[in-house]
């Protein structure tokens, strides 16, 4: 089989974990439109500061430049992409076809999500697909790795991905989430990124429960950069699964004028440090949401340099 994979210049997420390294990943949010210069600047800025970059897939149900295309751009620029795949906009056939393409272009890591609902986004009259959901998507990939598509047909050359999934430690109630976490592992998930965590005590309790369910699967804390009070109000009201707690809201409120972003950077750096120092988890996933330029500063404040890990 001829694979069109470019020679890998960086270790994949799987190799990072296998070497016992604490994973530091970032995120690229593609733009709405074809002006991709700023996104490419972010890719160039992050590619050597983080081990891998997630590319969001029409995040928050807002139509954007595609995740798969962005993953290829990241590779072209020497970064390591973590391809997010949601089930909201594509049925099983479209997803399978995309995965075949992704594999032949050297994408090694896929993050499997159900996807936000259509009404939270900017195409409110669109038809939602949800032919499948995150657990079934993991099964679909596991099946393709075994050489078959979901129609039961043999593939002329299969795929192999490091399969990631999402878990929400701040979900209320938490019990159904934990069962779903277990089901995702059963369906083939090898590692997890969490939805945004803010309450570190709650995250510790979550990690204890998660380790009891499975102590082999890798788990990275999802950390979101707080940029302003307006952003917090927006996230609390509009971003599914995100709840910024009062103590952090207070800390942001007390920030002097013009210092909100720096306060957010300080909070995130502190959270990263805590994850590492207290060995809470296997890595962190930094979601700077439009402020990717702040990531080097966050890592510097946290004293994290991936070239020395």
């Amino acid at each position: 089989m001829t694979l069109l994979i470019k020679k890998h210049t960086k270790p994949g997420i799987k190799e990072i974990f296998e070497s016992g390294t604490f994973l530091v990943s970032g995120e690229i949010g593609p733009p709405k439109g074809t002006d991709i210069d700023e996104m490419i600047e972010h890719i160039d800025l992050l590619k050597d500061k983080v081990h891998a970059m997630n590319i969001t897939d029409n995040q928050s149900s807002v139509m954007r430049y595609p995740s798969l295309g962005t993953a290829l751009i990241i590779k072209e620029h020497g970064g390591e992409p973590n391809l997010q795949v949601t089930c909201r906009d594509r049925n099983r056939m479209a997803i399978e076809a995309d995965l075949l393409f992704a594999y032949t272009r050297g994408i090694r890591s896929v993050l499997c999500l159900t996807g936000d609902s259509i009404p939270v986004g900017d195409h409110k009259e669109a038809k939602a697909v949800f032919d499948l959901e995150s657990v079934q998507l993991l099964q679909l990939i596991s099946g393709m790795e075994a050489g078959k598509d979901t129609g039961g047909n043999e593939l002329g050359g299969g795929v192999e991905f490091y399969k990631g999934a999402i878990v929400t430690p701040e979900a209320h109630p938490i019990e159904p989430q934990m069962i779903k976490f277990e089901k995702k592992i059963e369906a083939g998930a090898q590692w997890f990124q969490t939805q945004a965590v803010y309450d570190m005590e709650n995250f510790k309790r979550f990690m204890e429960a998660a380790r009891k369910i499975n102590d082999k699967v890798k788990i990275c804390a999802g950390l979101v950069l707080l940029t302003s009070m307006g952003a917090i109000r927006y996230m609390n009201a509009n971003v599914p699964g995100v709840f910024v707690p009062d103590n952090l809201v207070e800390e942001m409120k007390e920030a002097p004028k013009g210092e909100a972003l720096n306060t957010g950077i300080r909070i995130l750096a502190r959270q990263i440090r805590q994850c590492i120092d207290e060995k809470l988890c296997d890595g962190v996933h930094i979601m700077a949401i439009g402020k990717e330029g702040a990531v080097p500063k966050i890592l510097e404040e946290a004293g994290v340099d991936i070239t020395k890990m």
């Binding site: 939270v120 079934q136 979900a171 159904p176 989430q177 069962i179 277990e182 089901k183």
Partner: protein, 221 residues
């Protein structure tokens, strides 16, 4: 029951533009309950159309407009008024409207939007609990349907957007998966929740649906 809502009267008038002789059809079942096509609403529509200068050649309200043979019979019974009309305004669900389509060569217009197969909560309040997927999964989920009552219709547990038992699309709407979890927990059947559900067979609800039962006495052994 099939839940319908009335189209705005302005939209109905647009539909009838250039057609002056109108026959109105209502239904004695679902659209009577929904108050979108019962005797009262048909009489009200007649008065409003007449006030707009239309001639209403006749009206009829009967049970099961969706019954195509029944509709053809009703039209024969109203031969004169039906024959005088150049247009039919149908105040029923989409099935009834298309049943009228089969009974006449003239123009047929919908007066309602057909929204879902609904449960009646109380007068004037309806909710959707079944979406006719053709492959019923209620046995596995404590008789609460994830295909319909979860906004995403997913089969393996709640999505990350659920919060305090409410849906990410609307804080007033229950998260179907929280309802299912609580029900299965109460029944001591959480093992059903732990089981991974494979892909759903959407072929079971492929459009257009068609069912033909064998007649009694035929095909049996």
């Amino acid at each position: 029951m099939i839940i319908t809502t009335s189209k705005p009267f302005e939209e109905v008038l647009q539909e009838l533009e250039g057609e002056d002789k109108v026959f109105i059809v209502g239904c004695g079942l679902c659209s009577t309950t929904c108050e979108t096509g019962g005797e009262d609403q048909v009489a009200e529509m007649k008065a409003k159309l007449e006030a707009e200068g239309k001639t209403v050649t006749g009206t009829t309200v009967y049970d099961e407009v969706c019954h195509e043979l029944n509709t053809k019979r009703k039209f024969r019974e109203n031969k004169e008024a039906v024959g005088a009309a150049d247009s039919f305004l149908v105040m029923t669900c989409g099935a009834g409207i298309q049943s009228v389509r089969e009974a006449t060569e003239q123009a047929v217009h919908p007066a309602n939007n057909t929204v879902f197969l609904g449960n009646i909560l109380r007068q004037g309040q309806f909710t959707e609990k079944c979406s006719l997927c053709g492959d019923c999964v209620l046995e596995d989920f404590g008789a609460i349907c994830p295909v319909t009552r979860c906004h995403k219709g997913i089969l393996n547990g709640p999505c990350g957007g659920t919060d305090e038992g409410k849906c990410e699309t609307d804080k007033e709407k229950d998260c179907g998966w929280t309802l299912i979890y609580n029900q299965l927990d109460k029944m001591g059947k959480l093992d059903r929740f732990r089981k991974i559900y494979g892909l759903k067979n959407w072929q079971a609800s492929m459009k257009p649906g068609k069912v033909i039962f064998e007649k009694k006495g035929e095909g049996g052994e």
